[in-house]
Every structure is written in C-alpha cells, then in structure tokens.
C-alpha cells in the first residue's frame, strides 16, 4: 500500500510539472487535486485493460486502486476548494461538478447525459436568513426557503425513453413534465404552499406548471420516498403531479441553463445548443434538489442541486448513412475548457461493450479508464478530464469522435421494463393494461406500481386483476384513493411480486365520463393524456452495489441511494396514454338551451293548463251569418234567431 501511495505521489508530481509546462493558464491547472490522480492511477495498467482479454485480474487491480480516491475525497471535503475565482466566504462551502456521459446504444443511437451538481453546505431550515449566494442559483434558493421545501424534483421530457432499444437511462423521467416535492414538517397548509410553489416554478422554468392543480396532484403513500436524507416520511408532506401533455422546447432550456454557475459560457454547458438538442429522439432535462450528508458521519447536511440533461441522438437520420459521430456533429460545438468554477469536469464514454475496439473506434484516444457500478452492472468508461489541459491537445479543443466498425452486438435486456395500453372499443368503457416484464432468469423481486388516472376515466377497482404466468398474483399491498369529479384524480398503488422470467399484467376497467363542453381542450378529438404509471423496484444486482453514498463516484451512478449491496433501486415509467372521450356537439349550446327550455315551458304550460282550466257545458256556437243576422235583428228590435 505504501508503495502504491509512493507511486501515486510521483505520478501526481509528474502531472503537476507537466501541466505547468504545457499550459499558460496555470491558475486552473493548479486546482488539480487528489481526485484527478484517482483516475490517472496507473495509466499503463489502464491502457492494458483495453488490450488484455483476461479482464478479471485487471478489474480487481482497479478495485484496489478505487479504494484510494475514497479517503482522498473524504480528506478533500475538509478544506474548501482552493484557487476558485471568486473569493469564498468562510461559512459558504460550495462545490460544483460537471460531467457528461456518452453511451453508444446498440440501436446505433447515442445517449448523452449531462449532470451538473452543486453542493452547498447550508441549511435553510434553521431559520437564519441566507442572502449570500455563490454557486447555488439564488432563484431556487429563495424558492426553497420561502416554501420550506425539503426535496424538489422536476423534469421536462420530450419523447419517450425506449427501454427495450436503449436499455435503462441513468435518470428516468416520464414524457411531459413531472414535479414532486417533499415539504418540511413545519408547513401547515401543504396544498396552498404546493399551489403557490407550482406557480412560482412555472415562472422560473417558463413551463405550464401552473396547470398543476388538485385534479392532477396525488399524495403517493409508498412511492416517491425522499431521495436525500430525511427523518420523517409522512406522505402528507409529499405532492406528486405530472403533465403528460407538456411540450418541452427552447424556452424551458434557457432558464434551465441560467441556473448553472457558468451559464452556457464555459464548460460542458457550451454544448447545450437548442437547435441540436431538440433535433433528437429523446430530450429530458431535470432539476433535483435534496439534502445530502456532508460526510460519512452525516452529522450535518448540505443542499445538493443536480441539473441533468439527457438526450438521445438519432444519428441514422442526421449522419447521411455514415456510422460516425463526434461532439461537433451532435452539438455543433467542441469543448475548449472546463467551467472555471467547477472542481471537476469530466467526459465519460461507456466502452464496456467495446473492450477491443471491435465495435467502434474512439479518438482522440484517452489513457484514462474508470469503472463504476451503474444500474446493477459494472461498466468501464474512458474518461476525458477537462480540467487537464493535456486533454485538449495542441489544437486547444476537444472533439471526441466515435467511428463505428460494426453494428452487431447484443444488448443486455433490461431486467425490468414495462408497457401500458388502453384496450376496448367504443366511447363508453375501456380497460387499462399494464405489463411488467421481469427478465431475471431466476430471481423474483417486488415492484411498487403507481397509477394516477384523471377523474374523467372512472376506474372500477373491483375489476382490478393482476396475473402473472396465467395465475392470479394477489398484490400484497393496495392503496386506492377513488377520484372526486373535478377535484382529485384516482390514485392506485400496489406492491406486486414479479416472478422470475415472467410478464405480469395488471388490468383495470374504466368508464369514460362526459365532460361539460367548457372542460374540453381546444382539440378534443385529439384525446386526453393520462400520465405514465411509475414502477419502483429493487432489482437484484449482479455486482455488489456501493452503499456508502458519500463515497466518491461518478455523478451519474450515485443518484439513487442504495441501502443494500445485493439490489439496486430502479424507477421505470410507462408510456402515457392517449384516450378519446365522447364529445358533445360543440356548435350548438344555444340550440340545446333553447330546446330544453322549450320542453320545460311546454311541460309547465300543459300542467298549468290542466290546473287552471275548468270544464263547463258550452252553448253551440252560432255561425257568422247567423250572428250578423242577430245583430241586425237586435238593431231592429226583433228577437234574435
């Protein structure tokens, strides 16, 4: 171990000198702390990883090396980041990291995931007024303290994540907008606070979050547990809402970028150009705020802000048939520098399926390799460290390029995926089918299914069936909250055990309600959206998961806290549903009113007639000629006829 440390120190020194020598901007280079060394460990061994077929031994070696950055990171937390541009106030310890993960997908698409993390050692709950902001965006900080938010998760997504083609995303999100918030226990009127908060967020993100009201908000009883540290999990303080119809575009991206310390001026954020980002198969941007532990003892908490952006590029359509992509091709920008405020700025490229470069070729080649446990699997990544000037080479810009050699290769089927559809015909009733696939060959695991259905689809919970492998699979826990017309949606939560290698089908019948004519959307025949079901699962992991969340890991691998080593948490969203409702004739409310009122008037008239008329014997009515004759006779003084 001692020898190891020695070699590490020497390498550190070497890097130090080298960077001094190469770079004129030594300011940033000197920031290189222990952490950089963690990735640089033993580049020769790492380089060999790509070549040697006997990988197991090398992986073990890396595992030993991995132990080093852990205590290095723990040390690092003790003193503030040196050499930052702005003068730090002593009580404000904050830290910013940025990271881009690129995963070539088996379908030939490219998955790029940005993560920006700001950790701030502050506490809004103590009541002391926080007025000095450095890296943390002030707009969000004020919202958190004003509305006593403990956790806030918001995501805007355009497109649907195709699990069967693309595997699991690092951070799942449903199509449209999703918002879930845990409030502090001190909030008395949670609903009013929630309403206000959605309106404020609607302004911050330029989104239609103000359409979140009681008709699409639910309080899940078991799903959406706090992701940060929390002492109480009373679901009265939780609110969850989705807007499946929300369309995400540039106007949402701009305010999102403004929350970054460097904006879109430097660092990875220069790649975020809307004309390219929205020309993609899938786009999702999110903001997650939660309290996290400051150190492994967890004596005090700090606030973590994670901004993530996931995008899947379809390179078949844009690549003119050529199987090749680069940063420039994807984002129409290359990287020239890291964000100067960032303590770490890295690009990871998933090369697990490409140990011999038989699938694709990566250039410029990087000597750095790293391993991380992501989604129950150990993955290998090529790492580009942007804080190192050497990364940018002589051209002072980094343009990572991948050239595909073959498109073969089978993707590991995701252990859990789900789909959902509406069955039935006509406009009166229907049936929602949710299929959950457990692809694990021999392990069964429990999943928690959450369904939030708008009130205008009246669910009949007595028709709920759960079957797997042709047999009835009784959920061990069901929480059902029926809807109230125009007030609240249905909420159905259940805990189902998925048998190994099986499909579990959940069906429930519904009836379509007829709305008032003003309640329809402007395009009623387009249909009405029903938000995705959410499936939370603890999936058996093939490798041991890291249970220590303070341990230094790549950002994308440590979002969901992990309680035990044998399984990992996964959240899967199904497709949103598009359901047609019966529509009245919109053209003639006036006619309907006239008609109906006439009916009532005629009915009333008839009854009034019956009630007021008295019957009496009537004298026969003399004819006109006779009457005239009588008048004349009267004038003559003769008795009438």
């Amino acid at each position: 171990m001692a020898a190891h440390r020695c070699s590490r120190c020497s390498w550190l020194l070497l890097v130090f000198i080298f960077s001094f020598y190469v770079s004129a901007k030594s300011e940033e280079a000197t920031q290189a702390n222990d952490e950089h060394a963690s990735v640089v460990d033993n580049p020769q061994t790492a380089a060999e990883t790509g070549k040697q077929p006997s990988e197991e031994r090398l992986w073990e070696a890396t595992q030993v090396n991995e132990a080093v950055p852990i205590d290095a990171a723990a040390h690092k937390q003790d003193f503030p980041v040196p050499g930052s541009v702005l003068t730090p106030t002593p009580q404000l310890k904050d830290d910013f990291k940025e990271e881009l993960v690129i995963r070539p997908l088996q379908s030939g698409d490219i998955y790029a995931s940005f993560q920006f993390r700001t950790v701030w050692e502050t506490d809004f709950t103590t009541g002391s007024k926080v007025s000095h902001y450095r890296l943390f965006p002030k707009s969000l900080g004020q919202v958190i303290s004003k509305f006593s938010v403990r956790e806030l998760h918001i995501s805007f997504t355009q497109g649907y994540w195709r699990t069967m083609q693309w595997g699991q995303p690092y951070l799942p999100s449903p199509p449209g907008a999703e918002l879930w918030v845990w409030f502090q226990d001190t909030v008395t009127d949670v609903d009013a606070t929630w309403k206000e908060l959605t309106n404020v967020l609607s302004g911050i993100f330029c989104a239609s979050l103000n359409f979140i009201d009681s008709t699409n908000t639910v309080q899940p009883s078991a799903s959406f547990k706090p992701l940060g540290i929390a002492n109480g999990t009373d679901h009265r303080f939780l609110r969850y809402a989705t807007l499946p119809r929300e369309i995400v575009c540039t106007e949402n991206l701009t305010p999102w970028k403004k929350l970054l310390p460097c904006g879109s001026k430097a660092g990875l954020a220069v790649l975020l150009k809307s004309e390219k980002l929205f020309h993609s198969s899938f786009h999702s941007q999110a903001v997650h705020i939660r309290p996290v532990c400051q150190d492994w003892q967890c004596k005090s908490t700090s606030l973590e802000l994670r901004q993530t952006l996931n995008v899947v590029f379809d390179l078949h359509t844009s690549g003119q048939g050529k199987q090749e992509w680069s940063l420039f091709k994807m984002f129409s920008r290359t990287l020239t520098e890291a964000c100067p405020l960032a303590s770490s700025s890295k690009i990871y490229i998933d090369v697990t399926d490409n140990p011999q470069e038989e699938q694709f070729e990566l250039s410029p080649a990087t000597p750095l390799l790293s391993q991380a446990v992501v989604l129950g699997d150990r993955r290998t990544f090529s790492v580009y460290d942007l804080t190192q000037q050497v990364t940018f080479g002589t051209v002072r810009s980094l343009n990572v390029l991948i050239r595909w050699k073959s498109t073969q290769g089978d993707m590991l089927r995701p252990l859990l995926h789900a789909e959902r559809y509406v069955a039935g015909y006509g406009l009166q009733t229907g049936e929602i089918h949710t299929l959950m696939y457990n692809n694990h060959p021999f392990r069964s695991f429990p999943v928690l299914l959450l369904d939030s259905v708008p009130w205008y689809l009246r669910l009949y919970v007595h028709t709920l069936t759960v079957t797997s492998k042709g047999k009835d699979n009784k959920p061990s826990y069901i929480h059902y909250q029926p809807s109230k017309d125009r007030i609240r949606p249905h909420l159905l939560e259940m805990l189902v055990q998925l048998p190994p290698h099986s499909v579990t089908e959940v069906t429930v019948q519904f009836e379509r309600a007829l709305l008032k004519w003003t309640e329809y959307t402007p395009d009623p025949n387009h249909g009405f959206y029903v938000g995705s079901s959410v499936i939370n699962a603890l999936v058996p992991s093939t490798v041991a998961m890291h249970t220590n969340i303070t341990q230094e890991q790549p950002l994308f691998s440590n979002f969901f806290p992990c309680k035990e080593e044998s399984s990992y948490f996964m959240r899967v969203y199904t497709e949103p549903l598009l359901v047609n409702l019966p529509t009245p004739d919109f053209s003639m409310p006036y006619n309907v009113i006239c008609l109906t009122c006439t009916v009532v008037a005629v009915g009333y008239g008839s009854l009034y007639n019956l009630l007021t008329r008295s019957f009496q014997i009537e004298e026969p009515n003399p004819g006109l000629a006779k009457r005239i004759a009588n008048v004349i006779r009267k004038m003559r003084g003769v008795p009438p006829l």
Binding site: L427, Q428, T429, W455, R458, Y460, V461, H462, I478, Y480, Q481, P482, S483, K484, D485, R486, H490, E511, A513, L514, L515, K516, W517, T518, P582, T583, P584, D585, M588, P589, V592, I593, L595, T596, V599, V600, V602, G603, Y604, G605, S606, L607, N609, L610, L611, R613, F615, I617, E618
Partner: protein
C-alpha cells in the same frame, strides 16, 4: 285469477332467469338506457369493493347508492339475481292487489252514482263494466312483469327495481288505508331517491278520505291527521338516516347520495334530459337552471292535489305528482314504467287527463331522443312498448269523445295536441 297471476309470475321469472344465464346479460348491464349512474349494478359492486379495501365508498364519485343498499348487498351479493327477481315479483303482486282493491272502491262508487242517476246519459259509455274491471289488475301485473324495460332493468340488476318494489308497496298500503305502513314505505322510497317526497301530499289526502276525515284546513281533525302522518313519515326517515350513519360511521353519504341527485355533477348519458342540457350549459347559468329544473319536480304536487280529487283520481294524482318519473336528474327507464301502470287505472277518466299528460310525456320522451348527439349512446324507443294497450286506448277514447259534452278546447292548444299525436303515432 290467482292461478293466472301465478302463471304470469312463473313466465316472468323464467324469462329473467334465462336472460341471466345468456350472454346478453353483460351487454345489457352496460347500456346507459337501462341503468343510470345511481342505479348501476356495476357501481354497487364497486362500492362493495371499496368497502373491502377499507376505503369509504362515498369518498369517490362512483358509488351513489344509499348505505342500506350496501348493507343489503353485503349479505345478498351472491344472491343478487334472486333478489332482483323477487323485487319485481313483489312489485307486480303489490300492484295487482292495490289495483284490485282500488277497482273495488271505484266500482262501488260507480254503482252508487248509477243508482242515484248522477251520470248524464251520453257518458254512460265511459262507465266500466264488471268484466273490464276484472281483468285490469292482471293486466297491470302483466304490463309490469313482461314489460321489456322491466325485464332489461332486472337483468341489468338496476337497483331501480328495488325502489319500485318499495313504491308499489307504498301504493298498496295507501290504497288499503294502512297509515303507518304507508308512511314507512314512503319514507323508504324517499330515502332511496328524494323524489317520492312529492307523493306525501296525495297519500295524505287519499288516506284522509279513506278514513272519512274532511279535507278542510279549518278543521282540527285535518291538521291532526297531517301531523300524525308527518310524524310517522319524518320519524321513520330520521330513524333510517341515523341507522345509515351508524352503519358507516360518517355522514359522507348525505352529500354523495342526495347532493349528487340534486346537483347532477355526473353527465353520463341516460334517457333523461339533464345530462344533455348541462353538458352544453354556460357555467354561470348552471345553478339557476338546476334550481328551475329541480323545482319543477316538486312544485306541481300541491296544486294537483287541490285540483284533482285524490280519491277519484288517486292514480291521476300519483302520476303527475310522480313527475319524478321523467324530470329527475338521473332517470332510468324503470321510472317511466310508473306512468304505464297508473295509466291503466285511469281508463275511465282518461278523457279528462289526456290533454295534460301525453303532451308532456310525449315531448319529454321524444326530445332527448331527437336531440341526442349521434356519436353518443342512443336513447331507446320507449314508444315501442306502448302499442299494446295504453296508446290504442287513447285513440279510441278520443274518437268516442270528440262530440261529447266534456269537450276540451282543442283548437287553443296546438302544442299539446301535437305532442299527444306524435306520441301515439310512432
């Protein structure tokens, strides 16, 4: 007579049992023409399922039946088919007995009047003959049990069948002159769906005359009887409401059942008019029109009682007072049946009634049908089953009646005549 009634019951039960076993039972139960949001069996089952899940059935907006129905079907859910068939049979037998009794009274009075020579010579043809009277009760029972809509409702297990059984028992006990039972059954019917409240006044008037109490507001005996009856009625209503409270331990059911009936938030199409109107109503007029429509149900009852002599025209009073059969917010075809049964009782004085009733009923029935958006669910042909008896009768009566001394001013009321015509001619 009893033999033919038994035969009728056996035939009716066989038809129902056969339909229950057939594949038609399920599609019938789904039809909005047969069930309404309140009476749908599917919703009753849902209420029971919610109760099993530990959720109050009234916390949602699916179940709107009364707690007693839950309690009843909590035990009888496996015997639901038998329960509904039994309810139909009880209703038919009760009507049969009620009509028999009523006819006896009418016949007696007719005899006295004939003896006293009070009828004008040219209306003797309207006087009922004993053979005619003999078959009326059986016809009433038959029209109740074999009516396709009764059968369909029974097969769909619409809880309306139970309400009708209670109402039939109310009619029977009222005609028999049993004050206490009349009040209790009326209370049960009111508890099930507010609208039978309107029957309170005619029932009181009828019972008073039955007991030879003069209908005179200046007499103490009149008020004493009113107080007695109201006490029985409201007392049993109070007991039953409290019982419901203790069954579920909350008052949730009051807004969910009665608030639902009165405020019509559910626009599920049925053969009534409310959903059609309120789906297209401007929101700021909604409350106004809601009040106007609901008042219409209640406010005819007193004037009708004053105008029509309840003993002579009990069915006549029951019927228009039972406007709840076509105005209510959530109407099931079973409600409509009441008119038919009672019309049969009215054979002898139909000529007097004609102008008011068919006009209103005809229009009310026809309009939703004509106006319903075609893409929604169609409205049934209520008229189809009229061809047999009542409709034909209206025609013959009018033919006979036209030159008569009791001529009504037909020329002055084109609307109602048209309504009557169209009603019959379909």
């Amino acid at each position: 007579m009893a033999a033919s009634l038994t035969l009728l019951v056996i035939v009716a039960v066989t038809i129902r049992a056969a339909l229950y076993r057939s594949s038609l039972a399920e599609p019938i139960a789904e039809r909005v023409e047969v069930v309404s949001p309140i009476t749908a069996w599917k919703r009753v089952i849902e209420g029971l399922a919610l109760l099993d899940l530990g959720v109050s059935p009234y916390s949602g907006d699916v179940f709107h039946e009364t707690p007693l129905i839950i309690y009843l079907f909590h035990f009888l859910v496996d015997y639901a088919e038998i329960t509904f068939m039994l309810a139909d049979v009880i209703a038919a037998v009760a009507l049969y007995m009620a009509v028999k009794d009523f006819n006896k009274q009418v016949f007696r009075k007719q005899k006295f009047a004939l003896e006293a020579n009070r009828y004008p010579a040219d209306c003797l043809e309207l006087i009922r003959s004993p053979t005619e009277m003999h078959y009326i009760p059986l016809k009433v029972a038959m029209f109740y049990l074999l009516n396709p809509f009764t059968i369909l409702s029974c097969v769909a297990k619409s809880t309306c069948g139970l309400n009708n059984a209670v109402l039939a028992l109310f009619v029977l006990t009222t005609i028999k002159g049993n004050v206490l039972l009349s009040a209790i059954f009326l209370c049960l019917a009111t508890y099930q769906s507010i609208y039978p409240l309107t029957l309170c006044a005619p029932a009181m008037l009828y019972l008073m005359q039955h007991q030879y109490i003069p209908v005179n507001p200046r007499r103490a005996s009149f008020w004493w009887f009113v107080v007695q009856y109201l006490f029985m009625y409201l007392g049993s209503l109070f007991v039953i409401v409290c019982l419901s409270f203790f069954l579920l331990g909350s008052w949730d059911y009051l807004p969910s059942v009665y608030g639902f009936i009165l405020s019509v938030p559910d626009l599920t199409p049925n053969i009534g008019l409310f959903w059609y109107f309120f789906a297209e109503m401007f929101e700021h007029f909604r409350l106004f029109f809601l009040c106007v429509f609901q008042i219409n149900v209640f406010f005819y009852t007193i004037p009708l009682c004053i105008k029509l002599n309840p003993e002579e025209h009990l069915p006549g009073v029951l019927r228009p007072a039972g406007l709840f059969s076509f105005i209510p917010s959530f109407m099931a075809p079973l409600d409509l049946r009441w008119k038919r049964q009672l019309q049969l009782l009215l054979r002898h004085n139909f000529a007097l009634q004609r102008s008011a009733d068919p006009a209103g009923v005809g229009l009310f029935l026809r309009l939703p049908e004509e106006g319903a958006p075609p893409d929604l669910r169609a409205v049934p042909e209520e008229e189809g089953r009229l061809g047999g008896d009542a409709g034909a009768e209206i025609k013959t009566l009018r033919g006979r009646n036209s030159p008569g001394t009791l001529r009504t001013n037909r020329g002055g009321k084109p609307a109602s005549s048209d309504g009557a015509d169209s009603y019959e001619d379909i």
